[in-house]
């Protein structure tokens, strides 16, 4: 089976052709190595980095921005969002702090700071 994909790794957005044979995928049209990896992953097991905000208990006037340290499986995105929506942290939080350890195989870390 052949799939045409748009690489989302960088703004260049290469159009990729992926030839899929069971577990092996050969990718063409990519300008760099990361495109090849993206093409393979997108065909076998698509993943995305998720970014979101979570509530800060003692600072009702602001939200804390967070991201997954690694991309997670696409099918878990909404489950993760549901967890994050129900979560609160307590300020102060510094950028880079781990907010949630080991969730869907990765960490959730703060991308901003709240004093």
């Amino acid at each position: 089976m052949t799939r045409t994909l748009t690489c989302i790794i960088c703004p260049r957005g290469c159009t990729l052709q992926a030839e899929i044979n069971g577990d092996s995928v050969s990718v063409s049209g990519n300008a760099c190595k990361r495109g090849e990896e993206y093409g393979r992953s997108e065909c076998l097991h698509p993943v995305r980095t998720v970014t979101a905000v979570i509530r800060v208990e003692n600072r009702p006037d602001c939200a804390l921005s967070v991201k997954t340290a690694q991309p997670i499986a696409k099918e878990h995105i909404f489950d993760l969002m549901a967890v994050l929506r129900g979560m609160t942290v307590k300020a102060p939080v510094a950028i880079g702090e781990v907010i949630c350890d080991n969730i869907y195989g990765t960490q959730v870390i703060a991308t901003g700071s709240v004093e």
Binding site: C10, R48, T49, T51, A52, C62, A63, S65, K74, F78
Partner: protein
């Protein structure tokens, strides 16, 4: 009146990078004036990732990218007047600003304009209908959700498919809203293809091209919008009108460089870019006043903003440290298929000059041709070109030494 060597107006990505570059070029007395409480500008609300690949070699979110530069500003001890709004700049570089302490006047030796841009509003779009709550510019909604922690609606229509509109479609969906449609008046999206894929296609959000919002309905809160396809003159086609119930309409219909201060100072503006007319050192029509970032031209990528701001900051430092030698100058102009070229003036100085431009329409298999009169200076082939993706053409200065007074850049189909 206070005195500072270089005053930078704006503490977003452009202002921060300009300040750091000015400092690193040898001027120690650099200050940033920022109307917000924290540095970072619009990056603070852009919590999605994809920033910094080109400039920092890693993929960061907006707040993280801002943090890198804010840190550099802090490390250098660059003074930041935060919560301070500049109200006036004069041609002799007196900057007037206001904050809770009162009015501040600074005599600067050089000024860097880095005020960014604003979103086109509903008023400017002339959408007919009522004026209910629930109509937001996409960036306002983004700030409310990402910085202030409010959710703005549950059932959403987005007008405009530029990157902010696309990013917000995904953001609203992830926060639990249903995005009914993204409508785009043009026959193509102005956003990056990767954003159409990862923001719309990933979540099954329909993109309707050549479609606009013809009417807004609802008395207190938005109840729905009438969308319609448009003809070649972008006028809604009556027979295609259809009603979409929704409680929220986000407008992502273009950004306008915020140049009221620039205009007031008597600086020449470019009608197409909406920003100042500059040379390749980002100096405006007034000596010692420089411009960079979205106040100069609306960029697609913050990495390019940082690059441009570093150029402006370093140029401002050079201006403060000594007079540049006189050299010849030529002007650039946009030819067939090209909307604008920046810088508008090229000084015949330095090793090479980078011309930035946007094409008028998406096209595949093209070449961008730089000409002096009838003579071709350089040709740049491109597999594809689109208005949403700024082009950069590097031209060795040696090719321009005997060029005419005007350089024209046009797009030709190969």
């Amino acid at each position: 009146m206070k005195n500072h060597d270089i005053v930078i107006i704006g503490g977003g990505p452009a202002g921060m990078a300009a300040a750091v570059a000015a400092f690193d070029s040898g001027v120690r007395d650099v200050v940033i004036i920022d109307r917000e409480d924290n540095l970072g500008g619009v990056l603070k609300q852009c919590i999605h990732n994809g920033f910094g690949l080109h400039k920092l070699g890693k993929e960061l979110t907006g707040p993280e990218y801002a943090h890198v530069y804010a840190q550099q500003v802090r490390e250098r001890g660059i003074k930041v007047y935060s919560g301070t709004t500049v109200t006036r700049i004069t041609s002799d570089k007196i900057v007037t600003a206001t904050n809770t302490d009162g009015i501040l006047k600074i005599q600067a030796k050089a000024v860097v304009l880095a005020m960014g841009c604003r979103e086109r509003s509903r008023g400017a779009l002339n959408i007919s209908g009522t004026r209910p709550a629930g109509v937001y510019s996409a960036g306002t909604a983004q700030k409310l959700i990402n910085c202030d922690g409010y959710m703005v609606g549950k059932r959403v229509v987005i007008l405009g498919s530029g990157d902010i509109g696309l990013i917000m479609a995904r953001r609203m969906t992830l926060q639990g809203a249903k995005v009914e449609a993204v409508c785009e008046i043009l026959p193509y999206s102005g956003g990056l293809t990767r954003n159409i894929v990862q923001c719309l296609e990933d979540y099954g959000i329909p993109l309707h091209l050549s479609t606009t919002v013809a009417e807004i309905h609802g008395s207190e809160r938005l109840e729905g919008v009438t969308v319609a396809q448009v003809d070649q003159n972008r006028a809604p086609i009556e027979s295609t009108r259809r009603y979409i119930p929704c409680d929220t309409l986000l407008l992502s219909c273009g950004l306008i460089p915020e140049n009221e201060l620039t205009l007031n100072a008597g600086i020449e503006l470019d009608k197409v870019t909406g920003g100042a007319v500059v040379d390749q050192f980002r100096q405006t029509s007034i000596d010692g006043i420089f411009a960079c970032g979205n106040v100069l031209q609306v960029h697609d990528l913050v990495d390019h903003v940082s690059d441009e701001a570093e150029c402006a900051g370093a140029s401002a430092a050079k201006y403060v440290l000594g007079n540049p030698s006189e050299c010849g100058r030529i002007t650039t102009c946009a030819g067939e298929g090209v909307r604008y070229v920046l810088p508008q003036r090229v000084l015949l100085s330095g090793e090479q000059v980078s011309l930035y431009l946007r094409v008028r329409e998406p096209q595949t298999g093209v070449k961008l041709v730089v000409k002096s009169g009838e003579r071709i200076i350089k040709t740049f082939p491109r597999l594809k070109a689109a208005p949403g993706e700024m082009e950069k053409l590097d031209i060795p200065m040696s090719l321009l030494s005997d060029a005419d007074k005007t350089l024209t850049v046009s797009m030709e189909v190969q």
